[in-house]
Amino acid sequence: MTDQELIWRIAGGSGDGIDSTSQNFAKALMRSGLDVFTHRHYPSRIRGGHTFVEVRASNENVRSRGDGYNFLLALGDSFARNPQEEAYYGNEEVKPLSENLHDLREGGVIVYDEGLLAEDSIADLDLEERAEENDWHVYPINLREMAREHGREIMRNTAGIAVTAALLDTDPSYFETLMEENMSGDMLEANLAVLEDAYARAEELEHTHDLTIPDAADHDEEQVLLSGSNAITYGALDEGCRFIAGYPMTPWTDVFTLMSQHLPKFGGISEQVEDEIAAAALALGASHAGVKAMSGSSGGGFALMSEPLGLAEITETPVVLVEAMRAGPSTGMPTKPEQADLEHVLYTSQGDSARIVFAPANIRECYDQTRTAFRIAYEYQIPSIVIYDQKLQGELRNVDESFFDREPNADPGAVLTEEEIAEAAHHSSGKFQRFQHEPEDGSNVSPRSVPGQKGGRFLATGNEHTQEGHISEDPDNRIAQMDRRLDKLDDIRADLDENADHQTYYGPEDAEYGILIWGSHQDTAFEAVDRLNDDGHSVKALGVSDMMPYPVEEVSEWLESVDEALVVEMNASAQFRGLTQKEIGRFGPKLSSLLKYNGNPFEPAEIVEGFETSINGEELAATNLKYLPAAGD
């Protein structure tokens, strides 16, 4: 936590324009020279329900959600069910205010729309009393009325932005520019008018708070604001992916939608199909025909992909699948993040797994590792899975624009041209040997042909097969084919060690303790490591992205170097700790776990608390976390 940070939370109902408003707010702050990071919280509903987005902004490197927040813009839920009716969910209209008070920091600011939340509707909140206790500064203001005066009620959010800007003494011109870029005509005029009006009215209020916007430190270069889903999409496109098939499911829908929007411009094809079995099967069909292809889903949909995934493994058909995790089991909590599908993607489908699984931790890693996933899939003819979660899917963060300035690579990998096929090994009957026991270059990859190429005919089959692809139960052939498919994993491990840099080391090398982490909480853990070291602890962290093939040597070496390590993950059964122990086969007594599975991502302070609890051997005070001691403890 730095003193110089704003964590602004806009809260309303689904449909109140929270997403787009927060995105503009974050972009404006980014343009002003600040680093920004957003965190979304929303229910599985089309309209109504308590939704918020947080924008954390600072002139220091911002890479995670913070601890609590310090500025609330509570729009109220204009899509709430009738507050007069008895309802299981209570009074929904007021939730954007009432549900956000518990983690507002001392000295924080509250702005709420008194046009929607009249005095009697908030009477039960004891707002005045609590404000005094916590030194909160409350500004009721009639945003609804202002919006109505200038046109449409939805413009409450524009009015709210203006009030925020006025209370924080910020120049509203960044917001004006953004509106001019995104709107036109009457709509633009009306929004600009609301902005000006609300800014003026908020300036007139007596300002009692100290909170200001952090001083802007200019960025060294142009920044872009984007999400993990954007980065996965751009990684896929830059690696030559031109085919996607999918079926909507939260949160996977994000990548599917982005790809569908961009592929036509890139001369590619997107197919929305009847179910996820078909989606994965289509990706295999396109790849078989020579196109770089992908599919994906979230837990339930990915379960349906188990059989096509196994088919890709045995037929050595390259494909990339994305798994966007949400809280399970079954339908679980559709809009909440969790990291509980790790074992699902590693082991689903019958038989021995031969697949690649990467778990990127942030936007840069989403881009890089998606590209690597495609390269490995097509060079080694193996399915690659990129597993991420609802948190990384939706959070926005600024990145140097130059990061994306890369050369595309559309190389389809181990595919032969017709000239090469003519030279390649064929069965005496003329059939191309697509699945050679011992490929000519000494590797375990037998190059393929694609339909339509002269002399390249072969049979791809889900049965065990001979070198030409014909069905066979011959024991020697079985061993040769199985060994070659599985040995590719060792080759890929060596390739990644040489050409990729997927594991992230953080903190002082000679630290006494370690925090071991995977996926989207990595950067939150890094923030916790900084604080722990500032507080006199000796801690470092390792973020692991290669789930399969697991980086056994790297992680072993790192674990050797620490006395104990805390494995932090968002699930209830310590899946990554289990994987680590299975892969390495030792260190059991060194590894304890900090788990969270209540649907909300870790805050840095929670990892700090979990760590201190673990080294002191105390009971964990926080009830939303779970501590799992090391084996044998």
């Binding site: 751009y234 396109a286 050369e407």
Partner: protein
């Protein structure tokens, strides 16, 4: 220049080219109707002028799925019920390849029923041959989606309480633009229908009656059969949906009364195929996508040039 020189090659095609050197002899049971499909398919190929390297055959699981082992072409023996989604993406990726899909009645009308419905609805340009023997053969004789009501098997010991599926009606309702039924015992008609289905620009469904002499001994061997186009008893317009639907309904009923009707039921030459529809919306390139990966001069688009501007 195309990277796929087998496509559109001008030469005479001999049906023997489609007999693989590795497994020339199929291992189906003696008297199996599947031999009839294989033979008719091979005979149809010279008629449509396609060579083995430009044909991709996608099959499901079951005795019918073995078709790939005994038919020389590019082949993909997929998983149970899923030949159609694999096949249709291959067609979108390279529309110049002749895509044929095949499977059994359990594969296509049971486990893959959803894909059958949607592939027909989308009118993908391919022929789909369903080996309909009214039984699960390879798993040893269980009741299938086309088994008659009352059919007894190890899994339905008191006789099936379910009415069979109506494959022709289902194809029509779903959106197939060519629907026919033929039988293994009618090789000439089978060959002609397969050739027509391959040449049809859209989803062509053939319900191919294939007797199972091992597990469905009670079933007739689909003789005698009537070719509805040859018979004076039936007169209807195959381009008329309502008349086709009525004829299909009658045919499906009569099969279970012991009367085998075969022939073309619905032929719609007007509807564009899915690929054409998709190209018309601008969401599918005019040049086969598969060619692009072999084009060394192609300038691949970059996200940095096209998309980053929205994020500034």
């Amino acid at each position: 220049m195309s990277a796929f020189s087998a496509i559109g090659e001008e030469r005479d095609i001999d049906r023997d080219e489609f007999t693989p050197g590795i497994e020339p002899q199929a291992t189906w049971c003696p008297g199996c109707g599947d031999f009839g499909v294989l033979k008719a398919l091979k005979q149809a190929m010279p008629e449509v002028g396609r060579n083995p390297d430009e044909v991709a055959l996608f099959t499901g699981i079951g005795c019918s799925g073995k078709l790939n082992s005994y038919f020389e072409s590019y082949g993909f023996h997929t998983i149970h019920g899923r030949s159609l989604p694999v096949a249709r993406a291959a067609k979108l990726a390279n529309p110049d390849v002749e895509v044929i899909a095949a499977g059994g009645d359990g594969d296509g009308y049971g486990i893959g029923g959803n894909h059958f419905m949607h592939t027909a609805r989308e009118n993908h340009d391919m022929a789909y041959i369903v080996f309909n023997n009214e039984i699960f053969g390879l798993t040893k004789g269980q009741t299938s989606p086309t088994s008659p009501k009352g059919h007894k098997s190890k899994t339905q010991p008191s006789g099936s309480a379910k009415s069979p599926i109506r494959p022709l009606s289902l194809a029509l309702t779903s959106g197939a633009t060519y629907v026919a039924r033929t039988a293994a015992v009618n090789p000439n008609q089978a060959k002609e229908i397969i050739a027509e289905a391959i040449e049809h620009d859209g989803f062509a469904h053939i319900d191919f009656l294939t007797q199972c002499p091992t597990w469905n001994k009670d079933a007739k061997h689909y003789v005698p059969y009537t070719d509805i186009q040859q018979s004076d008893d039936y007169d209807f317009d195959t381009s008329n949906r309502e008349e086709a639907a009525e004829m299909m309904f009658e045919t499906e009923n009569k099969l279970y009364d012991g009367e085998v009707l075969t022939g073309r039921y619905y032929v719609n030459e007007e509807s564009p195929s899915y690929g054409q529809e998709k190209q018309a919306t601008g969401e599918m390139p005019e040049e086969p996508l598969a060619e692009r990966y072999f084009d060394e001069d192609y300038e691949w688009e970059r996200s940095a040039d096209e998309l980053l501007k929205h994020h500034k």
